[in-house]
Symmetry: C2
DNA sequence: CGCCGATCTAGAACAAGTTTCAGAGTTGAT
DNA sequence: ATCAACTCTGAAACTTGTTCTAGATCGGCG
């Protein structure tokens, strides 16, 4: 039984900021170095190139330490995705997409995110594969990513008080986004097809949203 | 350079029946034993319990032979999924789901498939995880699975000559099916939520299909 | 029958994710 | 400044997917 089997004290967990322990400055810096190394490695070779020993060396951290910060490769990649999504969300908030209907704006948002992926397909591949491969032990972190995705989509709809029906539509849109992304990343769909499918699913929003300038 | 590096003669490939080589009776039997062992192991422990050494032993085949038939664990699990889908499709053909609208019938079909998954969640988990984790080297086999899924959904719509728009809707439905499945399997969504989301996405079909008994 | 090439078997070997451990380094409280 | 507790390091060990090798088997052919 290892001393920290049940985390007697607070460990630099995968979780976000405050709750457990404040993370000293050096620890925050380590965490950041790790995430950056991960993204860098993923950018070249994709999922396979993110090798834990490499990440450790590249971020100047011992292997054991890496595992203390991120208990598995999947955790690490999911955390990286969360990190990237935060950037994206911040960017989108500054320049929200234009569009008549909610569907237009959501599709615009997703296509913008999609173009970001196209700029770095291997990184995208690594993150998305990790996300869908994650098992229950990562569900908390995956849940966070989904919440962020949902928040991004909801922002685009401009809905302040979505109904359960609308939330379902938003979830379905999120599902489709991830799924088409995978299909594109594994070479089974063209960019055009992704675009079409995204627009198709976005119609669901107008189907359930009280339109601002009627359509349907 | 191993003799068969580029498959001089025909190897018992992952591909379906005829083209390359007819597969002797004993080979066909081996292939079947392997698929069954895989499904059996997945049924208990899920993805992790499908260990190649175990599969080999359990199907009375040498490890090297297993790899000759299925070049990776992912290939093996995707082939298993294809196998199971064929059973399902056959079953559905015998008793097609009833329902007024195409959306109803598609949702009914998917919920029936979903209940089949519930009966064997660990097997479902293993297969679906493999499917979404598959990289380009498996895309042919994954493509087959998607084709089968699409065929099952299309069967339910009763459409004989679907438009590109409708095909897109069918793809989106397929995406949603896989994605909600994963969400459920990793414990991040309830059965009810899956049901709701499936019904939500199925509306897309009525949106694009010439309705038999309209539903605005 | 006896040979040939292809297939199958058993098992070692290798690769990368994960775990473990002893010891050095930090940190915080006194 | 000192001690105890915790964290980090470096390296080895373990697990499981994958590859490789040498020899046994099999199926067809002269």
């Amino acid at each position: 039984m290892p001393a920290d089997a049940h985390r007697t004290k607070a460990a630099p967990d995968a979780g976000r900021a405050e709750p457990a322990s404040p993370l000293t400055e050096r620890q925050e810096a380590r965490r950041r170095r790790i995430l950056e190394a991960c993204a860098r490695l993923a950018s070249r070779g994709g999922f396979d190139a993110v090798q834990m020993r490499e990440v450790a060396e590249s971020s100047q951290v011992a292997l054991g330490t890496l595992y203390r910060y991120f208990p598995s490769k999947i955790h690490l990649l999911v955390a990286t995705m969360q990190d990237q999504l935060e950037h994206l969300h911040a960017t989108l908030r500054k320049k929200p997409p234009a569009g008549e209907t909610a569907a237009d704006r959501v599709a615009g948002t997703l296509m913008r995110a999609f173009r970001a992926m196209q700029r770095d397909p291997l990184l995208a591949d690594a993150m998305v594969r990790a996300l869908t491969f994650a098992d229950r032990s990562v569900s908390a972190e995956v849940e966070q990513v989904f919440r962020r995705t949902t928040a991004i989509v909801l922002d685009a709809t401009d809905l302040t008080d979505p109904t359960p029906e609308q939330l379902s539509a938003v979830r379905v849109i999120g599902h489709t986004w991830h799924s088409t992304l995978i299909t594109w990343l594994s070479g089974r769909a063209s960019i055009e097809q992704v675009g079409v499918d995204i627009e198709t699913v976005c119609r669901l929003i107008d189907l359930t949203a009280p339109p601002r300038s009627g359509q349907g």
